[in-house]
Point group: C2
Chain length 329, copies 2
């Protein structure tokens, strides 16, 4: 599987139908993707969960792809999976939020659909989208941090996605930031994504529901369990103090962890994507402040830019479709 990112997709035939599918912890999102990264039509299914039969997840993928294809001939499908994908792009070896455990996902779906299928980690797909057509298209070296249900990451050096020995590089979400900290779905404790991610945002906001009448409390009808990430973002955008505090907490943790990554990689650019990044500076301002405060020698160096991803929630499907387009026979 190619890891090239800076090839020019505009040389492909724009009439061919390429579909990207992002398989995340909460939803399966499929989309028809143009050569320039535009998303024409999408279909969505709920992710059945991590303790269900594998067949249920693959059925959800199949339905979403069929809905997008709508009977047309498909030139290729790219799968962006929220989990560890092996170095050759064949298997999902482990996925904290999904039931796949060492499954030969690529070959099985290719056989089932009779269409060329490629597979990569969702954050690597997003990194490819940002590198080729997005926020990092002028920067060959950058890190991507995606904040969805959990945290994903991508390492791009010299314009290429660095995948590592096992294809597992960039798993930033499971770096331990708190000894004996919050338990994580991965089996560890104190993983970074327990403190900054979509789930972490909702947790931080839930603890602030109901103390006083606020937009946050109103949004969920006073029931913390009914609160969702988009509700928190909307309340914060409207100036709700409790929601802004939740973003402050999660943004601070984002910056602390980014400081750790910058200490290791010293990149010129950090791109923040995933659903939570829709909040833009509500999230990134506290993150930038924490980065400047936490990063060793920050007064003696150029700090990396910390910017919002161009593709937002579409990055996975765009990058997966781009990979499919690049790797067609």
């Amino acid at each position: 599987m190619s890891s090239d990112t800076h090839t020019d997709p505009s040389t492909d035939s724009s009439t061919d139908l390429y579909i990207g599918v992002d398989v995340g912890g909460t939803k399966v999102l499929a989309g028809e993707v143009d050569p320039d990264g535009g998303v024409r039509r999408t279909a969505r299914r709920a992710t059945p969960g991590r303790r269900v039969e594998v067949a249920l997840v693959e059925q959800a993928l199949t339905e979403a792809v069929a809905e997008v294809a709508a009977g047309r001939r498909v030139a290729g499908v790219g799968i962006a999976a929220a989990g560890f994908v092996d170095a050759v792009g064949e298997r999902v070896v482990f996925a904290p939020h999904l039931p796949w455990r060492g499954e030969e996902v690529r070959a099985r779906l290719q056989s089932r659909w009779d269409v060329p299928v490629v597979l990569d980690n969702d954050a690597n797909c997003a990194a490819r989208a940002e590198a080729t057509l997005g926020a990092a298209r002028d920067e060959p070296d950058f890190l991507l941090v995606t904040m969805g249900t959990g945290i994903g990451g991508g390492v791009v050096l010299g314009g290429r996605v660095h995948r590592g020995r096992n294809g597992m590089a960039g798993e930033f979400g499971h770096m331990q930031v708190v000894p004996d900290g919050r338990p994580c779905e991965c089996g560890g404790e104190g993983c970074w994504e327990q403190y900054t991610s979509g789930n972490a945002l909702v947790r931080a906001a839930r603890s602030r529901v109901g103390r006083v009448p606020t937009a946050l409390t109103a949004a969920c009808g006073g029931d913390p369990e009914a609160l969702t990430g988009p509700m928190v973002t909307e309340a914060a955008s409207g100036g709700d103090r409790a929601a802004l505090e939740a973003f402050g907490t999660v943004g601070d943790w984002l910056g602390v962890g980014v400081a750790n990554l910058v200490a290791a990689f010293d990149p010129p650019l950090v791109v923040v994507g995933g659903g939570v990044s829709a909040a833009a500076d509500l999230l990134l301002d506290p993150a930038r402040a924490a980065l400047a405060r936490s990063l060793v020698g920050s007064e003696h160096r150029d700090l990396p830019e910390v910017v919002r991803a161009h593709f937002g929630g579409d990055a996975g499907i765009v990058g997966a479709a781009l990979l499919a387009r690049q790797t067609r026979a």
Copy 2:
């Protein structure tokens, strides 16, 4: 400045005198280095400290180099500095344990000595030595963690030292592992090197002095403040339980931090160097256990090898001299 690591130094004239100088938090070590990495003669001075005049540190360097040269013509000197060195190898921009702050160290020493001088971070020098002639000579991708007074780090990808935008990549020692943790010389709190390093080892051992009569207590005459790292290593090598516990604590923290690095880089090899690595498996066995326990998805991946550096305490001077040899006009 070249960052090549896999050139063949044996093509250089072996009669030319190249000197490497390692400027660490506690000592300045200069050495004459053969093309094959052998160290012929060395000279040592105590590092004057981080709150003294810069001239005192540079005087210590000058004395050490002169002692090694012993009146012979010097072809080149490489300086391995325990601090941040800029991306072009001219300035030490910041050094937690040294007084240099943005000093034009390379040009000033070259002018003072009238000899070609090159400069790099000590851990990058060590990484170059291990990549070219040491424990990683067959592995183009690896991470180096050096445990001296603090922690240094080197990132080698595709046989090259990855230096980053500011030349500050690989500063693993200042990744935060404990929120509001132990204060660090860098101004931060909870930095990794506060939990695993030469200083951390001595701290862990001091807290165990005097409880019961042990080899550790005997080594320092019952005075915890008199305890040194080599005393702890010697006591542990002799089976002293308190000293072994200190290595267990520090080795565990080493493994936890390495797990964070492996989550990010997914390398096939981690090389552990610096003075503390002289303890070999007393340090590395608890580190390997903690790595296997802490690394996300460890049961689904090939774990990296964790090996002791080939050059031990000489890595900095060997790598610095190698850089001087590679970059001569």
